[in-house]
């Protein structure tokens, strides 16, 4: 089987915290010569739905991997934020059935949790500091797919409650977390599997993107997730050094896991380059990546 040479299976659009719309992102994908990609917005599968419209008629309803007119392929994706007693995880789902109930349940649940957090945070900011927001700000927060602390920070700076977004984050928003409700990794993995998708651990050594998990701790976390049904590791990642990539390849081989490659592109919101996954050519990759492609293509 001939594999695509350039792939990027981890990127964000305005449906979560990316800066580009799906058509804008598609333009970039073409410019970059990427022949297989997946949009993995945080807790949102809106891009997968939108893609179906953009892809046109050739693809049957509920396709897990869409073929565009110019031969570029798009794999259904999503990045789910999870947490348990051992910390945070980002779990990617690939090639799920967009119409399956369990994946929707996860998305709705994640959205509900975020909205609850917005309400609780608004109450806390008012009660603790007397910060009040306009009705239109509150509506704006609720209208977002993925409202988070940075959105509050921007509004606080606009209202003069803090000198800048960063100051709002450091002096106020980071002081209190609303952790009571979260999706556990086993719930996410179960929902992905039940929707016919492949659960993959995103940026394995970085937790939710801000930790550093190495050695025995990494092994412990990984083996736990494998018990839940995890099937792959994002071993090629823009934020990994060659040493970390090599460790991830080894972990994947030791545990018979599939491998994926992703940049975590966010458009102008971060400086990651689209297509920068630490992997030059698919043919250079460890066997786990080809095994993944065989599963989804």
């Amino acid at each position: 089987m001939a594999f695509p040479e350039k792939i990027d299976l981890h990127m964000h659009t305005v449906f979560s915290d990316g800066s580009e719309t799906l058509p804008e992102l598609l333009e970039r994908i073409r410019e970059n010569g990427i022949s297989l990609f997946s949009v993995t917005d945080h807790d949102s599968i809106q891009a997968a739905e939108e893609m179906e419209k953009l892809a046109g008629q050739e693809n049957p309803d509920g396709s897990r991997c869409l073929s565009l007119a110019d031969g570029i392929q798009c794999l259904n994706g999503v990045e789910l934020s999870c947490r348990d007693e051992d910390g945070k995880y980002h779990i990617l789902a690939y090639g799920y059935d967009r119409n399956a109930a369990p994946i929707w349940e996860l998305i709705h649940n994640a959205h509900r949790i975020r909205m609850n957090k917005v309400s609780k945070r608004l109450v806390w900011l008012e009660e603790a500091f007397g910060f009040l927001f306009d009705q239109k700000d509150i509506e704006y927060l609720y209208s977002l797919n993925n409202p988070g602390k940075p959105h509050f920070g921007i509004l606080m700076a606009q209202h003069g409650y803090a000198a800048s977004k960063d100051e709002a984050m450091t002096n106020y928003l980071n002081k209190k977390e609303f952790k009571e409700e979260f999706i556990r990794p086993e719930e996410a993995i179960e929902g992905i599997l039940k929707s016919g998708g492949i659960p993959v651990l995103a940026h394995p050594f970085y937790g939710d993107g801000d930790q550093l998990i190495l050695g025995e701790e990494m092994k412990y976390r990984l083996e736990k997730l494998i018990d839940f049904g995890l099937q792959g590791l994002e071993a090629y990642y823009s934020g990994f050094t060659q040493k970390l990539i090599a460790s991830a390849e080894e972990l994947a081989a030791d545990h018979h896991l599939l491998i994926t490659a992703g940049s975590d592109y966010h458009g102008a919101n971060k400086t990651v380059l689209l297509g920068d996954t630490g992997l030059e050519r698919v043919s250079d990759a460890a066997p786990g990546l080809q095994a993944f492609l065989e599963r989804v293509l």
């Binding site: 602390k149 960063d166 984050m169 450091t170 980071n174 940026h203 050594f205 970085y206 937790g207 993107g209 801000d210 930790q211 550093l212 190495l214 823009s238 934020g239 990994f240 050094t241 060659q242 040493k243 970390l244 919101n269 971060k270 400086t271 990651v272 380059l273 920068d276």
Partner: protein, 396 residues
């Protein structure tokens, strides 16, 4: 906003505070804007004031590194260095640690060698401060030599940390309650015989230690370079003779210390330790005896007060100690026999002394010229009556 300094060849950007997912994009933007004014200079990120970096921060560094492949990171604390090491940053780019500042003000000098001084900084630790201000390479070489010696069974101390002392580098060793033999000789004259025996036993142990090929330099090659440096200074026939004598000494795979004197042998508890390992080499023991002759006699031959100043013992005590060590080492009580080996050692010793003094401007002062002439006359007379530098030692 990060501060940046621009010079003709270098841009240094001073990072500070924390870099985590909350401010990583902002930190990256700040670095990028510092780089706007850069032309083609080398770029260093100074981590001196950086308190914490999360993996989101590591990704920022990785992005910058992708744009600037020869990026350096400098002044890295031990904690952050560990993170950079575990994640593979130290292997892929130039990462330099910051060094703890240590004061030696009022500290006792317990040892002194050609390359630096050894100070006691507290009851457990000593620091060797290197004369050479750019000594990092020397430090890692000495550390490697000490490791080789220890593996081969020579008791020594290995440095566990590198620090800064008044702008110089220092390496820190654990050395509990240790006294150099020079101090014991000065303060406890009744232990003279014991000192001779222990000092000689360790010397014999060093000289009987076989070093795997290629691990340490051949001292003979170094000695030939010393002679080469005197080509213009010595009469042609004397130069030729000296060169032939050293050339005729066979290469040898036994260890020699290279700077074996009473400040580099210390007593810790009841263990005799060898320190100052930077001159460790392999070769024929005549080269060791040559440097020992210099330490106990050569340096202070013209000005006897040198002995007192350097070793803290009188010239007479030094001479007596050297004489006793020589005889114990050679396994003889015969003066003539010992003298004949000493004369061979003096040939190499004077060559080294003359070269050293000339390199330090000795020919430019009257005292220096007189001293060099004394050594030169002795050397010429020894060369005329010596046919080989080889000698035998009675096995005890």
């Amino acid at each position: 906003m990060y501060r940046a300094e621009y010079t003709e060849h270098e841009v240094v950007i001073y990072l500070s505070g924390r870099i985590d997912s909350n401010n990583a994009p902002d930190a990256e933007q700040q670095i990028q804007s510092c780089l706007k004014e850069r032309k083609d200079q080398h770029v260093s990120l100074d981590f001196g004031q950086l308190e914490y970096i999360s993996s989101a921060g590591l990704r920022v560094i990785l992005h910058i590194r992708k744009r600037i492949p020869d990026l350096s990171i400098i002044n890295v604390s031990a904690e952050i260095y560990d993170i950079l090491d575990m994640t593979g940053f130290t292997q892929m780019m130039d990462v330099r640690r910051s060094y703890r500042e240590v004061s030696v003000e009022g500290a006792e000098i317990i040892g002194e060698g050609a390359n630096g001084k050894l100070y006691r900084i507290d009851s457990d630790n000593v620091v060797k401060v290197y004369n050479n201000p750019d000594a990092l390479e020397d430090i890692s070489m000495e550390r490697e030599k000490a490791r080789i010696a220890l593996v081969l069974g020579i008791p020594t101390a290995i440095s566990y940390d590198v620090v800064k002392v008044n702008g110089h580098y220092g390496s820190v060793f654990e050395l509990l309650d240790a006294s150099a033999f020079a101090k014991i000789l000065a303060e406890e004259p009744d232990r003279f015989d014991w000192c001779v025996q222990e000092f000689t036993d360790l010397l014999l142990k060093i000289h009987s230690t076989v070093v795997p090929a290629g691990k340490l330099p051949q001292i003979k090659q170094t000695a030939l370079r010393w002679i080469g440096d005197l080509k213009e200074f010595l009469p042609a026939d004397a130069y030729e003779k000296a060169y032939q004598l050293v050339t005729a000494v066979p290469e040898d795979n036994h260890m020699i210390h290279g700077d074996y004197h009473t400040k580099n042998v210390v007593l810790q508890g009841d263990e005799v330790l060898l320190i100052d390992m930077d001159t460790l080499a392999v070769g024929h023991p005549i080269f060791e005896l040559a440097s020992m002759y210099n330490a106990f006699r050569g340096f202070s031959e013209y000005d006897h007060s040198v002995m007192e100043r350097f070793h803290g013992i009188s010239y007479e005590t030094g001479v007596k100690f050297w004489d006793s060590v020589m005889k114990t080492y050679l396994g003889t009580q015969d003066d003539k026999e010992a003298k004949s080996v000493e004369d061979k050692a003096r040939i190499v010793g004077y060559i080294r002394l003359i070269r050293r003094s000339i390199r330090r401007g000795g020919l430019e002062t009257e005292k220096g010229r007189e001293e060099i002439n004394l050594w030169k006359e002795e050397l010429l007379s020894l060369l005329s009556c010596t046919d080989t530098l080889l000698f035998d030692r009675k096995q005890s």
